[in-house]
Symmetry: C2
Subunit: 456 residues, 2 copies
């Protein structure tokens, strides 16, 4: 429970509409997209760096957990106040401080939505490349805290490639300024990227300097249908061996296609058991060459057909409909986001089929195949105890395979609370110890998002 | 002096041709491109990670400075054993461990030359983008330790954008493994980029996983000559406002042009006082469009002429000849590598002209204008005490202006010993303290490259 003294200090600092202690109001900040629920005892809505600073100092004095939060769209539990304390919602720090097109930079506060950045950049012919599927309603602060990425990462990289500098307040209450305003800069240690992806465990980001990229002049799509998984996996490796990178290369397995069929009966060929949705961008001439190379690379024994899509927007709509459809068919899904080297995808995807049979579990797999980043969804009924155990065993098998293939356990979601039990499979003990010591250096009282990212 | 016990332990570990204690032999490892000289008491040449590990442990036991070194091409004194001790030359760790084209990855030991990586990648249609002017003879370990960049950074970024993971041994003697093998990965803190640019003060890199990029199909050049600096600076900002990024945008001021004229009398128009060397790459069609846009963007009042260069290689040869020419005309040059936001280049470059008059100092300025990264060279006679004082005053003025313009003190060279007195101008005290504490965490006995990067 919060001390009366702390509550009173926060009431003095913030007006009632920016400091909630009513459990009903606090409950709104108890969850994210992980389906776990941990209500905070209070929610604070700072508007300024100074207010964030004061709140951090108060939490240190009272040894109270403080859990920074963007818009709560994360899937790994990273923003949940698992040990109680105060949820620090940055959602009202909404200023775009500057739009500096000559230098291809936008400076913004953490609560600004990814979409708002796109809206500010687009009229000038620019965009900010990180594109998590939540982009319309997730904040740049959250994007940075998780080093968010999406389908376009195959060509454009993830958040860590598109932030020049940060202002932040460490768990110890130090106001720091990292990085610089220019695209080159090698003065001091790279604290910018140390904070990117640190899931609110080291510091609270209060301002970000974002690097913009010019919008491509043309975007086009390709769809390719395959009779079998193996042919599709082979096509992925053939596409990624081309010099031209697609701007997206999305894979859908048979389970995914069946979900879409349920909603759109005539959309897909009957004999398709795997599909690629491919996007290319650039100039009209370049795209023509790239499309022709990609259509060639799709030619495998099991190819049904590959062709330029007439409507790229419709393509993405089908892909984006998948996650909600998954929710409908299973009361719980274990949604992983592992990554394997692209040339091991044939081996990995066929192993998933094997595991599905072996553990008698329905799984649906799709994702950003160009980066080897596959969303493995195990569909389970949480009331079926035996199924839950089989799912855990299966997951363990999947993670071991990922590590054996030189992959990583998370390409997008992060560790949060969901994957902390498994981090030791990937990161060795000395490296993990060093990370823990870095945490302690930034946040000696362990007030910032305590318990996350590290094994309990 | 080294203790007899340490020398004996190292003699036991390494054969005589991999452990030097003869001062004459050690002297070869006393300098870099900063013109400072600090002989080590010994030089060790490990071949394996285990040997590096043992050497670090021994230096901890004997509290002896250990200064990691690639090929000694740095200009900031970063690899000099200023406080004596042992130079740890990684130059014989020369294995390219794997060339994995399907996944666009090369794994290599730190002593491998940048050029050797290019040679391994090129037959497959790939390259590794970091391109310091020393690329032919500098090592990837050194490139990583300094986050090296070069002319192509304007399109391709610097070293920190092209390394997926590292193996390293910290100053405390912990073997760590950072990052991953895939292009996406968000498991744990980003220690990879914390080590990149850390100038050998945190850990010794023993293996690097490098991300490759496809070679462009065509490369073309443009030269543009201007009657005055202002017109040239305006052209730079107009070029960088185009959506298409040039693959290089190099600026040469009047001082630079006069140096070239001394060697190549008929190469340049007589009335040119500033020049741009521009490179574009991509497909033939794209290049045609980009060249036409860039030629348009060069149109300013003082433009003499802008045209596609017939011979791109010759263009770069002239540019690369500049540094040695500078050496010839002045016994000492203060070679800075500041960065300012591109749209402040007109203000910055005209201020440099003013400072040159005010402090009566010859200066020659050129550099990677597309990133706002300008090499400011103050030409001085070190025996002229008054000139040396004026140069110091002028430099201080330049650095203050850079910071006021929201720039950074170093875009490529790093801090080393050369710029540590100035780092406080750019990095505030709390951030610098945090960096010092990170140093202490990685290297509690301060054995690794002691004294570098931080103010004394």
């Amino acid at each position: 429970m919060l001390t009366a003294e702390l509550v009173s200090a926060l009431h003095n600092l913030l007006p009632p509409d920016r400091f909630y202690t009513d459990p009903v109001e606090c409950y709104t900040y108890a969850y994210d997209n992980s389906r776990k629920i941990f209500p905070p005892q209070a929610v604070a809505f700072p508007l300024t760096t100074d207010e964030v600073h004061t709140i951090i100092n108060l939490c240190n004095q009272h040894n109270t957990p403080l859990v920074p939060r963007g818009r709560g769209t994360g899937t790994a539990g990273g923003s949940l106040p698992e040990r109680g304390g105060i949820a620090l919602s940055l959602e009202r720090m909404l200023n775009i401080i500057s739009v500096d097109i000559a230098n291809r930079v936008i400076v913004a506060e953490p609560g600004v939505l990814n979409q708002s950045i796109q809206n500010a950049a687009k009229p000038h012919g620019f965009f900010w490349p990180p594109d998590p599927s939540s982009a319309a309603y997730s904040s740049i602060g959250g994007n940075i805290a998780t080093s968010a990425g999406g389908p376009h990462a195959v060509k454009y990289g993830t958040t860590r490639d598109h932030v020049l500098g940060l202002k932040a307040i460490t768990g110890a209450g130090e106001m720091i300024k990292t990085g610089c305003y220019t695209t080159k800069g090698v003065v001091g240690y790279d604290l910018t990227r140390l904070l990117i992806g640190s899931e609110g465990t080291l510091a609270v980001i209060t301002e970000a300097t974002l690097k913009l990229t010019a919008l491509p002049s043309v975007v086009a799509g390709i769809t390719a249908y395959f009779q079998d998984l193996e042919s599709c996996a082979t096509a992925i490796t053939q596409i990624m061996a081309l010099p031209q990178l697609p701007s997206a290369l999305e894979f859908l397995d048979n389970g995914s296609l069946n979900l879409i069929r349920g909603r759109h009966p005539d959309m897909l060929p009957d004999d398709a058991n795997a599909m690629l949705m491919i996007e290319v961008d650039g100039s009209e001439q370049d795209i023509a060459i790239t499309i022709s190379s990609i259509l060639d690379a799709c030619k495998t024994n099991g190819l049904i057909r590959a062709s330029r899509a007439e409507n790229t927007a419709a393509l993405w709509k089908a892909r984006k409909a998948l996650s909600p459809l998954l929710r409908e068919i299973a009361p719980k899904k274990i949604n992983e986001d592992i990554v394997v080297p692209v040339d091991t995808l044939p081996e990995f995807l066929s192993a998933l089929e094997r595991f599905s049979n072996q553990y008698q579990l329905a799984n649906v797999n799709f994702g950003h195949a160009g980066n080897g980043n596959i969303h493995v969804n195990l569909l389970i009924d949480p009331n079926n105890a035996d199924q839950v155990i089989r799912a855990e065993q299966c997951l363990d098998k999947i993670f071991d395979l990922v590590i054996r293939l030189n992959g990583t356990l998370s390409g997008e979601h992060g560790i949060g609370s969901e994957k902390r039990a498994f981090i030791g499979k990937e990161i060795d003990q000395p490296t993990l110890s060093l990370m823990k010591n870095i945490k302690l250096l930034f946040d000696p009282n362990n007030i910032l998002n305590p318990g996350k990212l590290f094994p309990q």
